[in-house]
């Protein structure tokens, strides 16, 4: 049985769930923001049990796990406050304990491995070690160092966030976003705040196109992304304009690039990754970053790729089609999950949270 860990608004999970349904691959969708209403967790020495609706599962019942986008657990009907937080922490600890019994190699991807793989600077180091071309990179708090870097690259330097570009504001205040931006001469002349926070700069790559490379086990899908800025050059950050005017084309990777992408992915212990690269004006492939839990379904929806089929095949190979005794069809933890019949003779020992 495949376990999908995500949230109730995850449309990518919707997309794959439909494909799994067409392929008759049973799964349990575990929406962490809605699951607690119909959930029972129990444990007797070395035997954790999770009851979703009427079906009870042991960790061994899950032959594959797709770790997508879980959100913070929510208690149905509970008001925010420290006691709610405490209760949610208890739930988290219990669920984590159950999931921890599922072997790491069954996960795509295991969250601990994603966390390790999520650091841009280490990604660049690892990529360079593997032989990727990477942009000359500087992280600094020293204005003088930035000025020297800027001059050395003839004023063609970009700045981009190391974490993510979102500036979220509480309440209804408008959020802002920081894309990859070209650094201007006036930025270099006025950069006193650089001392307050390390900032990542890179030599700007003269891009012919961007390429999003999606790895699912041994399958590699490479989609070329083309869009122009006002000056006619390939867009500095392909995500601008919501990618509305981006041309998507399925391409074949050079063998050496493919091998390096797989080596990078596997080196982090990942089975899935979304790698961002570019092809420069000279035809060289340049590495930008690896997203251990990056988006992919939009490319399928544009007809540029068939990544969902790779997931279906991977989960099928994992024996995800095996149903636990008594369950007859896929269930969804965010719904009532009453469609399956219980055959368990070991009721949960853990009461519902008060």
């Amino acid at each position: 049985m495949l376990l999908i860990i995500t949230n109730s608004t995850d449309t990518t999970a919707d997309h794959l769930a439909a494909a799994l349904g067409r392929a008759v691959v049973p799964f349990v969708r575990f929406d962490t923001d809605r699951c607690l209403g119909g959930l029972r967790l129990g444990y007797r020495t070395a035997a954790p049990r999770l009851r979703l609706g009427d079906v009870e599962y042991a960790p061994g019942d899950f032959t594959a796990v797709w770790y997508r986008r879980p959100e913070r657990l929510r208690l149905p009907g509970a008001t925010a406050g420290p006691e709610t937080e405490f209760t949610l922490d208890e739930w988290s600890a219990g669920l984590e304990g159950f999931f921890a019994h599922i072997p790491v190699e069954r996960w795509m991807n295991h969250p601990a491995r994603e966390a390790v793989a999520s650091h841009k600077l280490h990604q660049l180091t690892r990529a360079a070690e593997l032989g990727f071309a990477v942009p000359d990179t500087l992280v600094t708090q020293e204005p003088a160092e930035l000025r020297e870097f800027f001059a050395r690259h003839g004023g063609r330097v970009i700045a981009k966030p190391m974490a993510n570009g979102h500036v979220e504001r509480k309440g209804d205040g408008p959020d802002t976003i920081i894309f990859t931006n070209r650094v201007r001469a006036e930025d270099v002349g006025d950069c006193a705040e650089l001392a307050g926070c390390p900032t990542l700069f890179q030599a700007e790559v003269s891009k012919r196109s961007d390429v999003r490379i999606t790895v699912v086990d041994d399958d590699v899908h490479a989609v070329e992304l083309r869009a122009s800025d006002a000056d006619g050059r390939q867009r500095c950050d392909i995500r601008r304009n919501h990618m509305d005017d981006v041309e998507h084309t399925l391409v074949t990777l050079p063998a050496a690039v493919r091998e390096r992408v797989l080596a990078l992915t596997r080196g982090y212990g990942l089975r899935y990754s979304a790698v961002d690269m570019a092809v420069d004006d000279r035809g060289e492939w340049v590495f930008f970053e690896i997203n251990p839990n990056g988006q992919w379904a939009w490319m399928d929806l544009r007809g540029a790729s068939g990544i969902a089929s790779s997931f279906v095949a991977a989960f099928g190979r994992a024996g995800a089609g095996a149903l636990p005794p008594g369950s007859e069809k896929p269930v969804c933890a965010s719904e009532s999950a009453t469609s399956s019949k219980s055959t368990s003779s070991t009721p949960s020992t853990t009461p519902a949270p008060g």
């Binding site: 879980p70 657990l73 969250p111 979102h166 408008p174 959020d175 950069c191 919501h242």
Partner: protein, 175 residues
Amino acid sequence: VRKSFLLRFQEAQVVPERTDESANAPTGTRVKGEQPDRVAYSAYDAMTNPRRDMETATGVPSERPDRSAAGEACATLPARAATDTLTVTYVGDEAPRNDDLRREAAGVLPAAAGTKTAVEGEQPDRNAPGESCATLPERTAGEVADSTLTYTFVSAEQPRKDERRRAALVLPACS
């Protein structure tokens, strides 16, 4: 004064119309808190969420003390380095934990026959409620505070969820 150089580049987040394609693309926040190409917030708390670990280390309100030493305040801890053996410098009136296992592992604490713990000037671990002075090994008064203590985490022992815990991520289990 801006707090980061990058903030000069911030621009309004324009939320795209929600379509199948836009909802599945890495194009930015669609709903507050939803950030597509980032490792998602996890039900896995400390195990998987490095941001939360970092918050813990800095003592922000969401800080949760070490489950194995409830109540210890990170604010009183000195910075530690991530090394195979961990050198902990006790500062001021901070005292090592009265954990026999850990103390045995330390192996460097002086102990003097006939000298009771909790003698004047010595403070048992104030931050581990429930542990009594009676469990402390004997030692000479005054030799603990301000000393430098090198110890190795022993098997199954949980370092604290702060700098020590982060250090522990690279520590081999020792026995």
